[in-house]
């Protein structure tokens, strides 16, 4: 197994899928949830998020529906079976990558 070139670039999609696997949510809510769960490590830009959401939907990993509450229109996203599969694969790849990274860094005397 080799680290795909998409891994580093793809952590955004993995984070989004991971949040949505816990329940349907809308864009703005995803950003807030990510910030909160990572203890502010991740402050995902909206210019990063929306292209990810649209791409995942195009791929069939997400489905969306509109809902209005408090006079606000929210576009909720739901993870499909395909999306869950992708999430499992991405998590595995992340674990593999981070293990490799830690192994290499572990050799360094610094």
């Amino acid at each position: 197994m080799k680290i795909s070139k998409e891994l580093l670039k793809g952590t955004g999609a993995t984070l989004v899928l991971s949040v949505l696997a816990g329940g349907d949510l809308y864009g703005y809510g995803i950003v807030k949830t990510l910030a909160q769960r990572s203890e502010d490590a991740f402050a995902m830009n909206e210019g990063t998020l929306y292209p990810i959401l649209h791409a995942l939907e195009e791929e069939g990993c997400l489905e969306s529906y509109w809902e209005t509450a408090d006079g606000r229109n929210r576009k909720y996203y739901h993870v499909t079976r395909k999306g869950l599969k992708k999430l499992r694969e991405n998590k595995e790849e992340w674990e593999y990558f981070s293990a490799g990274m830690n192994r290499v860094l572990g050799y360094s005397p610094v």
Copy 2:
């Protein structure tokens, strides 16, 4: 503390610095060492490596010198004090990032 935008893009430099912190080495040797230490997780492309080496040298994080052995010309790289500082910072950032990543992924039921 926030994850810098350079983190994901910068793992390449971190890996290279990490290898060189263990002793001076040349480009081709770095690729081989990385593959070996990561158990083939990382197969760094030469088109990725050389720009990293040149940029780190330009920054003052590396110094280079030529050596010939077995009729082969090898350009060895040595980590400077500044390079060690950068390595420490990058490692810290990596640990912070991977912790955040694991925290977010840990919430996912999948």
